[in-house]
Chain length 236, copies 2
């Protein structure tokens, strides 16, 4: 993984890697690896990345430990593979459909709405980005680096959508993209916390209302353009 | 722990308990317990509440395991005691000094500013409320209940400060206190995430700028009252 490459390039490259991967049938070994990875992702969502072990996974897959080891040479490599798999799925569900929307507010709103939905379907398991950040904030090493790189790539994609909305004249020219990103991310973190930990009702609407207020206070024209209603809802 | 008691009453009661505790000298046994608790709090801040074990603590304290067991009958009891100790310190540093400020905006601003500072001094260790929420969101039981009770008590205190600022006519009468609390909490979570995990610079100012913007958009009078400058900074 080249840390010099700008994050958005990684997202684009991952897209073409995925597209290529979909074109060819998986070998038997690749199928087994994909099945192990799928089980590992489920385990990590519930137990955390640190809860992953080759032993637990072998038991879950009814394989020998050495069978799992043949695909993932170490626990660390397994954790990093799980992070990459999570990232690929996050892109499929959130990033790629949203960048199909027109640049500017529609794309930014689609990114947020799909992110909210992703967190809401994960309420029974938990977001690996959010729980991983807490698990690994004190643990330097390649797992933490892989996780931080994925989170930064996602943040960079959001910040780019904000910059495009400014360039399109939809958001005020003095909007600070990094500040707006910080506040939008805060809404998602509060949603995850209040829904997962406090089990508060109605938090999806709190996150959406916060985003609508945030956008409204940065709109270049105080009366929202009717072409871009706030809040934006995707078709159910 | 009585879950029926309103959270604010718990904070008040804890205050008088603390005051009483300070008035009498600690017995030898109480001193040992306090020293173990102090070490346990340090351990939990770095390793998480799930990283706490009687064995690790005994080693750290150069005591026997049974010596630690004599003070905390189980790992669970130890975890709950650590949560209560953390809460007591949080109150000492954040809650009690802030409620000495006049009701309304000054108190709300002091609560936020002291919270931000608390998170900023914890950047090397981590906030037990925030990391504990992720550790225990999937683990029902008395530890999770104790943690959630403390977090709810703190949130209730903040919401009360918001209600007072509305009642005082400083915030708009249609301000939704729970929504404002949700968004303020999001700023703190984003601060913790970006500073601890991403190690981004300048995040304290991002949190403060977000709070200032949030308050400004809810002020009853669009020009801020000069008696209540936004953002509010405590004397260094």
């Amino acid at each position: 993984m080249t840390t010099q490459t700008p994050p958005d390039v990684n997202l684009q490259r991952a897209a073409s890697d995925n597209a290529r991967a979909l074109q060819r049938p998986l070998h038997k070994g690749q199928q087994t690896r994909a099945a192990i990875l799928d089980a590992a992702l489920g385990l990590a969502s519930h137990m955390g990345l640190e809860g992953l072990s080759i032993g637990a996974l072998a038991e879950l897959m009814q394989m020998s430990k050495s069978g799992v080891f043949a695909h993932f040479g170490s626990r660390e490599e397994l954790q990093i593979s799980v992070i990459r798999e999570y990232h690929a799925r996050f892109e499929e569900e959130v990033f790629f459909p949203a960048i199909a929307e027109p640049r500017g507010l529609p794309r930014l709103q689609a990114l947020f709405e799909r992110w909210v939905r992703r967190v809401s379907v994960e309420l029974d398991s938990g977001c690996i980005y959010i729980s991983g950040a807490v698990e690994f904030d004190d643990r330097p090493g390649p797992v933490r680096d892989a996780l931080a790189e994925m989170v930064r790539a996602w943040h960079a994609a959001l910040e780019r959508a904000i910059r495009m909305a400014i360039a399109a004249g939809q958001l005020k020219p003095d909007t600070d993209p990094a500040q707006l990103l910080f506040e939008v991310h805060g809404l998602i973190l509060a949603l995850h916390h209040d829904a997962r930990f406090l089990r508060n009702p109605g938090v999806l609407d709190r996150a959406r209302a916060g985003f609508a207020r945030l956008l409204a206070s940065h709109l270049a024209h105080q009366l929202p353009d009717p072409r871009f209603p706030v809040p934006h809802r995707l078709p159910e």
